[in-house]
């Protein structure tokens, strides 16, 4: 089956700062939108579809459109956590292919670091209207990191996966981060101890935040954002940069269920759907941009998307193939990932951005002749309600 050529990423921008005091999330979105449109060679008023979770500064899809100054024919505020941007990219590609839009703008901005949001360790806020979720979870002192910790613990129990195996994920992403000047600046500005390449021993020696997750298995909390412009093939033909085609997508959700297997993510549904939609297989993928909120998230994405069998991810990641200069498997998170480059709360957009850079040949850890990438976002909390969406991208 020939690959789809109907909608492409034509413009990208990643907001360069991870510590941005005095700047609002809206300003990050607008600045990123302007630069992404410029990257594409398109104008502000060319945008006819707005994709944004609408959750930051609580202004919704209407507010973001007004703030940006756009009068879109189409607004999509799908908000399912960090994977929202893969959901939105898939939706945009579908709507463009159906002729409902020509130029879609995806925006994201967050000031999680400057707001001093303790995303990973803050626990229940006790704010907002009571919900069944809060009432059944808040009294136990669950932190976000411990939610993922429960998944890692079960993975270790069920499959015998070791701490050292998990640590390879952090090692690979840091290896890539050290080649990305923006990631190096991020780690420096966020006062990481040791802005350098790391070993599996370093990861295992870093302090436990929520057993079995160590500090170096947990993403940073940064400021940041970005924008992606997705356009029809007619528009893409006249854009500045070469198109990065969206050739398939899949979406799914999963929840805490009685008797459910916590080690299997929603990616076990959305991954195969995306590959079937794109007509490609995991062994053809050059670039794997997998949401690295934590080491365990990547482990689940690798297994559930079918890069290896379920439970064999420990051996798979330990073979060294995740590094951009190694063959035998996809390069993982070549920008440095959420672990070592950028995680302002919802990382999904950066998976699209680095996929596009790789397929354009613009990455700081460039894989030779990269042709196929998968961006797989995971949002919510892996150990309870979460969403996993995969977007498969191709270069000509």
């Amino acid at each position: 089956m020939s690959q789809r050529r109907e909608a492409a990423i034509v413009g990208i921008h990643e907001y360069p700062l991870r510590v941005a005091p005095g700047v609002s999330s809206l300003q990050i979105k607008a600045a990123s939108a302007a630069k992404a449109l410029s990257d594409a060679g398109l104008n502000w008023q060319d945008v006819d579809a707005v994709y944004d979770t609408g959750t930051h500064q609580n202004i919704g899809g209407l507010g973001i459109s007004e703030y940006l100054g756009l009068k879109p024919d189409l607004i999509d505020t799908t908000s399912v956590g960090g994977s929202s941007y893969e959901f939105q990219a898939n939706h945009a590609a579908t709507m463009i292919a159906s002729g409902k839009a020509n130029v879609a703008l995806l925006t994201y901005g967050s000031t999680a670091h400057s707001d001093r949001r303790a995303i990973g360790t803050g626990g229940a806020t006790g704010q907002g209207s009571p919900t069944p979720f809060n009432n059944m979870e808040d009294p136990w002192g669950m932190t976000l990191i411990s939610n993922y910790g429960m998944v890692k613990a079960r993975h270790m129990h069920q499959y015998g996966t070791t701490d050292e195996q998990f640590a390879n994920i952090s090692v690979a992403t840091r290896y890539h981060a050290m080649r990305n000047p923006e990631a190096v600046k991020a780690m420096t500005d966020l006062e990481f101890v040791g802005v350098n390449e790391i070993t599996t021993q370093d990861v295992m020696d870093s302090r436990l935040i929520a057993w079995p997750l160590h500090l170096l298995e947990c993403c940073m909390v940064s400021d940041g954002g970005g924008a992606v412009v997705i356009a029809s093939k007619e528009v893409a033909a006249n854009c500045t940069k070469k198109p990065v085609w969206i050739i398939g997508g899949g979406e799914a959700t999963k929840y805490r269920e009685n008797g459910g297997d916590i080690t299997v993510s929603a990616g076990a549904q959305s991954g195969p759907r995306a590959f079937a939609d794109a007509g490609v297989t995991p062994d053809e993928i050059d670039i794997l941009m997998a949401y690295d909120s934590f080491s365990i998230t990547v482990m689940c994405m690798i297994e559930d998307l079918g890069f290896c069998s379920k439970g064999e991810g420990g051996d798979y990641v330990s073979s060294g193939i995740l590094k951009f200069d190694q063959s035998g498997g996809p390069a993982l998170n070549t920008d440095g990932g959420g672990l070592s480059s950028n995680h302002p709360g919802e990382r999904g957009i950066f998976l699209l951005l680095e996929s596009a850079r790789q397929l354009r040949g613009e990455s700081t850890a460039q894989v030779n002749d990269a042709k196929l990438a998968v961006a797989v976002g995971n949002g919510g909390q892996l150990g309870s309600r979460h969403s996993t969406s995969a977007t498969i991208l191709a270069a000509d």
């Binding site: 360790t121 069944p132 002192g141 929520a210 009685n258």
Partner: protein, 141 residues
């Protein structure tokens, strides 16, 4: 872990789905629902069956015996009620009646090493004050 920690987040009401569950904890009863239509076990509590959509459900009382499905030991929490507790264990417990509840595993000296997936546990109620709800926690059986 302290018996009475006033800062520990409490369930908040009105919230009609879980209120009967919490009300029953005042009598130290661990309640769960089953669907009158498809017989599935429903948890967390809801007014409908998430398996078939039936609005006809029944409340049952668990014996409180089960096994740790998985757990994590929290060494860093910034929440005022938990930050000074020392390492404490968050877990999913699978009750023998077929429902999975989030809770804490208590009465273990070294939570990392004294708890394991599959370990048998039993209920351990933590009162939250006179006439108030009680929190169902679990300890080694």
């Amino acid at each position: 872990m302290t018996q009475n920690s006033p800062l520990r987040p409490q369930p908040r009401f009105p919230e009609p789905d879980t209120e009967p569950f919490w009300e029953a904890t005042k009598n130290r009863e661990l309640k769960y629902q089953t669907c009158n239509s498809c017989s599935e076990v429903i948890f967390y509590p809801r007014a409908h069956c998430p398996s078939c959509g039936s609005l006809e459900t029944s409340w049952n009382t668990s014996k409180g015996d089960g096994a740790v499905y998985t757990y994590s030991v929290i060494l860093q929490s910034r929440h005022p009620a938990f930050k000074d507790l020392g390492p404490y264990a968050l877990a999913y417990v699978d009750l023998d009646e077929g429902f999975r509840i989030m809770s804490n595993i208590v009465n273990v000296a070294d939570p990392v090493n004294d708890i394991s997936c599959g370990m048998r546990v039993k209920l351990n109620w933590h009162d939250q004050g006179e006439g108030e709800i009680a929190l169902p926690m679990f300890e080694p059986a």
